[in-house]
Amino acid sequence: MRLELRDIHFRRDATEILRGVDLQLKAGDIGVLVGPSGCGKTTTLRCIAGLESITSGEIRIGDRVVSSVDRCLGAEVRRVGYVLQDNALFPHLTVADNIRFGLRKLSRDERETRVADMLALLGLRGLERRLPQDLSGGQQQRVAIARSLAPQPDLLLMDEPFSNLDARLRTELVGELRGLLKKLGITTLIVTHDQHDAFGLADQLGYMNDGRLEQWDTPYDVYHRPRTRAVANFIGDGVMLPAIGKDGHWHTELGNIEDPAADGSAELLLRPDDLLHDDDSPTQARIVGRVFRGADFLYTVQLPSGLRVLALAPSHHDHHVGETLGFRLANDHLVVFRRD
């Protein structure tokens, strides 16, 4: 079902934690919220789930208003599935009993069928009698997801679903989870601090900062067309390159870029893949650092002005710290932040 947040404010004691969050998620889409810790991501989920009552604004799931200033449906009647951080599996209940916990309104037969379905769906067959403590981190994660999905909620929320897992398992589960959610067609909102997880999962990606949603777009747009400096700094690597606008061009240390709107003083967002190694370029830069990442090299190079920027190079371009090379801009797209 569709999820809509309209101008959500939330205050605890004297602190304003959410300062006007607007967000829309189409039925069946996966939304991901990223942002620094304390930015209000988890609070947003808790408000949607009904674990906190909002101070002002409105939350709708489908056509139903679940939270508004004078009305707050309890979490137990919202039909929202929520995979809490650290899973919160009931330690005294077996895997099957954990999954069964939210199904008591069903008849006995329906309940057992649903539990069997969930075990099969998440690849947990054979583990139904285990206690959570006897499972691996990845298995616990699956049980938590199965438990939240079992009552067939209208909406699924997940808070840092991969925080306890090692890097390899994470990558594996991210792909698996997206496949599963798409197969079920369930609308899902996920909070994470890891942008790789976010890119792998999201149809819509949001960056939250200081209680506000600064951008809510496709992952491609959030990466390549960040709306604020904060978004640009948080998502992906990048450096701000000073530029002067004159005669329809941005003039920078790395050459000029055409832009009819170029005017005044500004900064251009320079991603590592925006800088190309070109021996003919008039701009020579010295390599001051390099990280071999297997498939490519990430070089840190110092421009004549002293500014350090990042450059991506294919794995075979093996250069050494101290070498001087030519670089130019790959100006197929341009992100400009004007200086006021």
């Binding site: 674990l51 137990e76 929202v80 599935g81 009931f90 005294h92 403590q133 009552p151």
Partner: protein, 517 residues
């Protein structure tokens, strides 16, 4: 730090008394029953066994219900006075059971001024306090704080996220409490209840003061009334079997405690509406009133009228003997448990490792049983021990070893071997390591262990009563003797000293219990 054989020796020595008791009692069971036991079997033991069983069951159930209810109220609800009740409900622990029994018997007995007045003015009647029911009431009121404390900590440390997870899966708060929080706290509550049952089984002071026949009083009578050590040993065998069953129950409950994952966001308490809050305050206030405030007030009133008459040189003598016995006993227990926890940290032989739990199991064995179980074999082997304090101290150490051991074990657990290795690699010598690393980190545990054992020893009754040299009187003995003679009011002066001493280690007790869960 200790050599391997020395570490093993420490453990074997610490476990030796419990071993002597168990083997000795087994031997007594194999001795044919004399006339005295046949007399006991026929006339005394059926009643005594039944009373013991009824007491253990009622007190365990009563303390479990009362303690859990109060714990749930304080841990899960918010009402005016919650903070006050949260700590003050531990105060009843400072009153020894036999003191509360004396207060109840003295003030609620048929001939007491209070009962006479209520009977004549209002026509109130109630069953005698000198009955199994009366003893159960007194024991529940002194022992419920164990369950209260452990259950409260278990409920408070159950993470908020379990409640939230339950509410997201369609449960109201009440349903979530019943289906998730209570099952999570159940092993802790069971462990505490087993502890209460052990204390009830071991109780001698309360039932003696209220003239209720139980196995412990039967043992006392067989030994002191009929001078039949064998009969006493055989009754002790009964008690030990029951105690070991309870110990097993407690261990199983604790084992399932270990898998509990706790922590996270603190539980959000539900604010009660004014009517509910008033009822909560009335409930907690009534319990605190009858288990602590009223008895203490009564003692003070009695004491003030007998202050001058009883506070003579003899009183200072009782006090001095109590303090010396408790102080020396606590010193021995803390020293041995320190050696013991270090020894266990080392790589010891499998025999020592297997026998180590026996050393900490002594708390399950009733004092009366330890007294007779040690006295009989030791005086047979070494007759000159009669009339000395040696057996008394061995019995003290056996019964209260666990009390001193627990804080030392938690303390040393914070000092992993890696810390020693780090110090060693930095070139420190063994004494320096003790002085600069171990002592600063352990001194808090040593203080806690000392305070807890000291006060338990001050209040201890059956071991002191049965194994002391003739005429050796302490505060606890004095209270007991005055109580048995019906001189309730005169017992107040020494009793107050015991209550005051009992207040001292409450803060550590609270800490230790929270570690235990």
């Amino acid at each position: 730090m200790l050599a391997r054989w020395r570490a093993s020796l420490v453990i074997l020595l610490a476990a030796a008394p419990a071993l002597v008791v168990l083997v000795g009692l087994l031997g007594a069971w194999l001795t044919p029953a004399g006339d005295a036991l046949q007399h006991q079997w026929r006339y005394l033991l059926p009643d005594a066994s039944r009373n013991t069983l009824i007491l253990v069951i009622t007190v365990a159930a009563g303390a479990a219900l009362l303690g859990t209810a109060l714990a749930a109220l304080v841990a899960l609800c918010d009402f005016p006075g919650r903070n006050f009740f949260s700590w003050s409900l531990l105060l009843p622990l400072s009153i020894p059971g036999y003191v509360l029994a004396a207060v109840f018997a003295g003030s609620l007995d048929y001939s007491s001024p209070l009962y006479s007045w209520l009977r004549e003015q209002l026509g109130w009647q109630w069953p005698s306090i000198r009955s199994v029911g009366g003893a159960a009431l007194v024991l529940i009121l002194t022992l419920f704080p164990y369950v209260y404390l452990i259950a409260r900590v278990a409920l408070e440390s159950a993470a908020q996220r379990y409640l939230e997870a339950a509410s997201l899966l369609g449960r109201t708060r009440l349903q979530a409490t019943r289906e998730v929080l209570l099952p999570l706290a159940l092993p802790a509550i069971l462990a505490a209840t087993a502890l209460v049952a052990m204390e009830t089984l071991a109780d001698f002071g309360v039932v003696a003061a209220l003239n209720v026949d139980t196995l412990t009083t039967a043992l006392y009578r067989a030994w002191y009334g009929m001078f039949s050590l064998v009969t006493a040993q055989q009754i002790a065998g009964f008690l030990v079997i029951m105690a070991l069953l309870l110990l097993l129950l407690e261990h199983r409950a604790r084992a399932s405690l270990r898998m509990r994952e706790t922590g996270g966001v603190a539980l959000q308490r539900r604010r009660l509406n004014p009517l509910q809050a008033a009822l909560a305050m009335l409930f907690a206030g009534t319990i605190l009133g009858i288990s602590f405030l009223w008895p203490v007030g009564h003692l003070l009133a009695w004491a003030s009228s007998h202050f001058t008459a009883d506070l003579d040189a003899r009183y200072w003598g009782y006090l001095a003997r109590s303090v010396v016995l408790a102080g020396l006993g606590a010193f021995l227990i803390v020293s041995i448990s320190t050696l013991f926890v270090y020894a266990r940290r080392d790589n010891v032989s499998w025999i020592a490792r297997g026998i180590a739990p026996l050393a900490t199991a002594g708390y399950a064995i009733p004092g009366t049983v330890l007294a007779v179980g040690l006295y009989a074999p030791l005086t047979q082997a070494l007759p000159w021990l009669q009339g000395t304090l040696f057996i008394l101290f061995i019995a003290y150490i056996t019964r209260f070893f666990a009390v001193g051991h627990a804080p030392m074990a938690t303390g040393l657990a914070r000092l992993p071997i890696a810390l020693d290795e780090a110090a060693l690699l930095l070139g420190s010598r063994s004494f320096e390591r003790w002085q600069k690393i171990h002592w600063p980190m352990l001194k808090g545990s040593v203080a806690a262990a000392f305070a807890l054992t000291f006060v338990d020893l001050m209040k201890e009754l059956p071991i002191t009563l049965l194994t002391r040299p003739f005429g050796f009187e302490t505060l606890a003995i004095r209270v007991f003797e005055l109580t048995s003679e019906g001189e309730w009011e005169r017992a107040a002066v020494p009793a107050i000293a015991l209550v005051l001493a009992g207040l001292w280690p409450l803060k550590w007790l609270a800490g230790r219990m929270s570690h235990a869960t």
